[in-house]
Symmetry: C2
Subunit: 458 residues, 2 copies
């Protein structure tokens, strides 16, 4: 009995796998996690809030109060929709984003990630079109691909998603008789692009959604992590909640480890998401929900957000300085007004997937740009994170990437006999805190290509 | 801006919904939760461990140690596969179930529920056959239906799933050219049936799985909550992990609120489940995983399981006594050797869905039997829980159900002019602790019907 270990035998099980597994893509970001856990690696690949900033003694106090008063409830099942206790906290966060919401309309989820999953579960059949930004959140790739969606990506520029390209894309889809199921956007400090959707474009996007009766999934993890400039209204607020589904999360302003997110959606959509969630995980952690309720009651959560923002602002500035110092001529990068990421684009002879392999040998990691596309684009770009890494490590990390880049540039020169443009000291970088979001204001943050090439999803 | 509240407009959004939403069924159990939260209701509908048995001061201590030592990690993302810290704890639980496993093969999930979801995600295309027990876990209904599976249910008797009926079902599916994607079973103290798969049948089931190369999903939430009799080996252990996917959970032996489950699966299957999980929720709560690690290190978890078992055994005995006192002639119920549930079957003129509506008026709830079938069966039966309710409430709850049953019986008599069989005091009940699992040993626990009627899944 027992003892005989399973022999992995792909052939044996292959006939059993669902169709979706043929197109399911893993998240490059997640796959990198194991690698980048090695202490000698400086990882700029994460999308991490720096949880060492949270005072351990505060957590200990909040949790022991919670346990003393509400142990049995923290350990028990909760309604699928979420506990009443956490609703005031989430409502406060949204109020800080300028949103007026009915707490009873909140569906609590297992992180913001589950909102994306449940929206797909509710709306997407195999082959259905989702419009996303190009680049888009790398963590959405395994979700979109699991639902066998045909993801059409619309470029960004310094003002966020290009609405003119969106219009062209919608017209083309119309002509093909295809109606997109939803438009996925991260308007604030986009992941990975770092850019922010302008107010004018927010109004246009909402108008398009209302006119065409298309749902928009507004993913807003970083809205409160703004380091300069004025906050803009959410799409949800501009729309009044008719066509905008809102995804919120505490992952970046409190903790990703507790897995607490939430959504607001039109009632018929939300009701189906609740049934979807019953099947996925019954309910989100009661322990986490009550921890949040107690934390918001006992501590000044605004203060913690401000303290984080101060630290991340300084780290961003260091990163932008270092990019200026170490990146070659022809490289561009975004200057985010908030959030966690800078999007770096190298001259056309670079391939960041290859570059990552070399970078890992030099003990530094980033997310290669292809991870942010479902259509193969992004090979010249990289997502680099500044929030989760100390300033010294940012300096060292960017210097190491710079060294690998210079090495590649020399290799290119020796192979082609030509001198690559600027393998030396930095040019083309936007000064930190500049008004524009990109090095060359107005330019697309990725090389212009035809938007929304179709991808056979089966 | 803002202000205008969304008007629910089913027509407007209907065209956007995915195909699967047409067949997605919500869990009757979950839908009952909101209703049964009213304090005047005695709910025998839950599937709850009694978390008031867990000492609040223990939880406070464990959590404050964890926070003091590991705050930043508890608040941070974790690998999708789960944290290293929790693996010894889960390995210990499986050792107590008689299983030898490699800790590195464990995939940590968001409750046992997510195992069912990820197995479906990996294996099930719309229209694919899943074989389940009849009755089956009501919480699997929203999952199976979301994947548009064709669920074929095989009856139970006192010794668990009827392997002869399974064989007939497999032969019939063979003749139709259909290969089931997996067989879903809860071998110990089945939910909702209360019966346990005999050792002989375990061996037969494993042999069938190996011969036919069919996966079995073994869901084992209650294995350690045994109140009498000897533990039987898990299917996973008998099989050696070749065709059995194992689903474990801490929901019943520690806490459902922390949402910690896990799975063991053949490597090619597990790898796809990991990608599926990336898309669903990135990783399970780090806070919960570390809480478990600290709890297992600092406290005697075996002792807590024993204390729970003592309490639940006594509650079971009270429930069985009361059923004997209040149920009419012709009613039968199972005598579980462990777990949380008794499965009650009333004479053929009862409909437990109607009965529930009346029972709620009398402030008592149970899960109607139809919730445990995807094919409309179960109308005479009910799942009644004894673990989550104090003995006095069990007495009062069963008395109230008895009163509603008697009322229905009288109504039947007055409408048909005949005396229903035994609307009075109990008969047909198996004595608690009897060797057999059902009142009439050897009889099926639900009226025999043709197993596995096909259900159009679209």
């Amino acid at each position: 009995m027992g003892g005989a270990r399973p022999t992995p035998d792909r052939e044996r099980y292959a006939g059993l796998f669902a169709q979706r597994t043929r197109v399911m893509k893993s998240s490059a970001m997640r796959d990198l996690m194991a690698l980048t856990e090695r202490p000698e690696i400086i990882s700029l690949a994460g999308g991490l809030a720096d949880t060492t900033l949270f005072p351990a003694e505060d957590l200990a106090k909040v949790l022991s109060h919670m346990a003393a008063e509400s142990s049995a409830r923290a350990l028990q099942y909760a309604p699928t929709e979420g506990m009443a206790d956490i609703r005031p906290a989430l409502t406060e966060v949204m109020a800080a984003e300028g949103m007026t919401v009915d707490p009873d309309e909140i569906l609590v989820t297992t992180g913001g990630q589950q909102v994306i999953d449940l929206v797909c579960k509710t709306l997407v059949d195999p082959g259905d079109v989702i419009i996303a930004e190009g680049p888009t959140y790398p963590g959405a790739v395994p979700t979109f691909s699991a639902y066998e969606a045909d993801v059409v990506q619309v470029e960004l520029d310094a003002d966020g998603m290009r609405i003119d390209v969106l219009q062209e894309t919608l017209a083309r889809l119309d002509a093909e008789g295809r109606r997109p199921k939803f438009i996925y956007t991260i308007p604030n400090f986009q992941n990975p692009g770092g850019v922010t959707l302008s107010l004018e474009r927010r109004r246009e996007l909402v108008r398009i959604a209302q006119e065409r009766e298309i749902l928009v999934l507004e993913d807003n993890p970083y809205g409160l992590l703004r380091y300069e400039g004025e906050a803009l209204p959410t799409l949800y607020q501009l729309d009044g909640g008719r066509f905008v589904v809102y995804a919120g999360t505490l992952s970046k302003i409190l903790s990703p480890g507790i897995r607490v997110g939430w959504t607001l959606a039109p009632a018929p959509v939300r009701q189906k998401m609740v049934v979807g969630k019953q099947g996925s995980d019954l309910n989100s952690s009661s322990l986490s929900q009550l921890m949040v309720a107690y934390y918001f009651r006992e501590r000044d959560w605004h203060d913690y957000v401000r303290r984080q923002a101060d630290v991340y602002r300084a780290r961003r500035d260091v990163m932008l300085d270092e990019l200026g110092r170490h990146m070659p001529e022809g490289a561009t990068w975004t200057t985010p007004q908030g959030g966690l990421f800078v999007w770096l684009t190298l001259p056309s002879y670079f391939d960041t997937t290859d570059l990552l392999a070399r970078a890992l040998q030099h003990n530094v990691a980033f997310v290669p740009g292809r991870a942010a596309y479902l259509d193969g684009r992004g090979g010249q770009s990289a997502r680099i994170n500044f929030s989760g890494v100390h300033e010294d490590d940012i300096r060292e990390g960017i210097a190491r990437i710079g060294a690998v880049v210079a090495e590649q540039a020399e290799l290119y020169a020796s192979l082609t006999g030509s001198t690559p443009p600027g393998a030396g000291r930095g040019r083309g970088a936007a000064p930190p805190g500049a008004a524009g979001d990109v090095a060359d204001a107005g330019a697309p943050i990725v090389p212009l290509r035809t938007a929304g090439r179709r991808r056979g999803s089966r």
